[in-house]
């Protein structure tokens, strides 16, 4: 399943549409890293609202995306984690270190708008 990656101003939005296999997740990672480099994006928003499971592999891949894109000067924002997924992640001990978490796409965009300007609400909340 291909994940559509939208370029918006100087950031990217990746909306996951359905369950991704390990291979597909890695492909997403590579695509994002490539695009960040090409467009010199300053941020990547990954919307995982559709995912009903987040296991250690997906968490690790998200962390990799964050690490790799940071090396290129970009921030990774994960949005849309569902209640049940959040609960199971906590029990599994998955924290998504290195990523910024926001509630949904709207919230993620708000975080980006506030970056650099005064008052970082999302930072306070992190």
């Amino acid at each position: 399943m291909l994940v559509p990656i939208l370029k918006q101003e100087d950031f990217l939005i990746a909306s996951i549409q359905g369950e991704l296999s390990d291979v597909e997740l890695l492909a997403l990672r590579d695509q994002l890293v490539d695009k960040v480099q090409r467009h010199r994006s300053r941020a990547v928003i990954i919307d995982v609202a559709v995912l009903d499971i987040m296991d250690s592999f997906s968490a690790r891949t998200l962390r990799s995306i964050a690490q790799m894109t940071r090396l290129m000067g970009a921030e990774t924002i994960v949005v849309g984690i569902q209640p049940e997924v959040a609960m199971s992640m906590v029990q599994l001990g998955l924290r998504l270190e290195g990523t910024t978490i926001a509630m949904d796409l709207e919230d993620g965009l708000a975080v980006l708008k506030n970056r650099g300007s005064q008052g970082n609400d999302a930072c306070d909340r992190a």
Binding site: I81, Q82, P83, A86, M87, I101, R125
Partner: protein, 337 residues
Amino acid sequence: MDARSANKKEWPAIVKSLNIDAQEIRRRKDFLQFNEEDAERLKSINELAEKYADDVIEEFYRHLMSFEETRQFFRDQQQLLAHVKNLQKTYFLRLTKGNYDQEYIENRLKIGKTHERIGLPVDSYLGMYNFYLRAVGARLFTTFKDDPERAFKAFLSLMKITFLDIGLAIDTYIDSREQTIGAQQDAIRELSTPVLPFRQGIVMLPMVGLIDSYRASQITEQLLRSIRDTRAKVVVLDITGVPYVDSRVASHLVQTVEAARLMGSKVIISGVSPEIALTMVTIGVELGQIETVGDMQSAIERAEQLSGYKVIRVRPERRKTDRAENGFEDNRNNDPA
């Protein structure tokens, strides 16, 4: 879904929740000392049963209708009465057909459920069995008057199978009660920890009473769903009303904060008493990530601050007018320059 198909889906569920498997059936029969001989004896009087079935049922309902309550109960329900009579006859005849296994049990449970659903009281139910045994007993002894031993043995077998049935009927009544209680308890639990929307983007969750592990995870689930539904970016979790927090509950609190964070929401825990603070420190709870405040007032202020709200007290200009209306003099013009 009509009543019949609703029933069809229901009684396998009862069988499961009552755990009435082959082993359980065997156990109950052993307890009543109901064995193959009894089954055979019952089958042997089947022909007789078919002959007097209608009579017995009519006699029974004549007896029932002699009581005011029953008359009232069936008064405007002729169809129900006919339906129940029919069920009775089928039930009655089934007693002497043999094969008292899984299918028999499920059938009995179905009947029990029907009676329970229409609200038939337990003592009426028991009264029915009693009348029935007496009516049948009398006929047995008349029919086999030359062989009283046979009549007696058949009667005993009949008693055993009806007692098996009574046990099952009572089980269905109890099962229904338990399900109602379960549903009520769920409702109470949800009501006792309401998630209160406070301002746009802020919710408050006052926890009251003793929290066990199960309730704690229920509360967390409720809270997270609420965060999603109201898009609350800040949560004030108040534990002023929680007298005691043990290590499991403390870790639940930590988990709740973390799960909310993964949803992009910040939790502020307020009402942390000195005792609870000590417990949490002693347990070694990761307090670094969690914002805690002593009282709810401060928590609310902090929540508002985080959400970009600013509360301004409106200047009391209106008070001077109030004073004039209340009979105070308006001294402004009389002030010496």
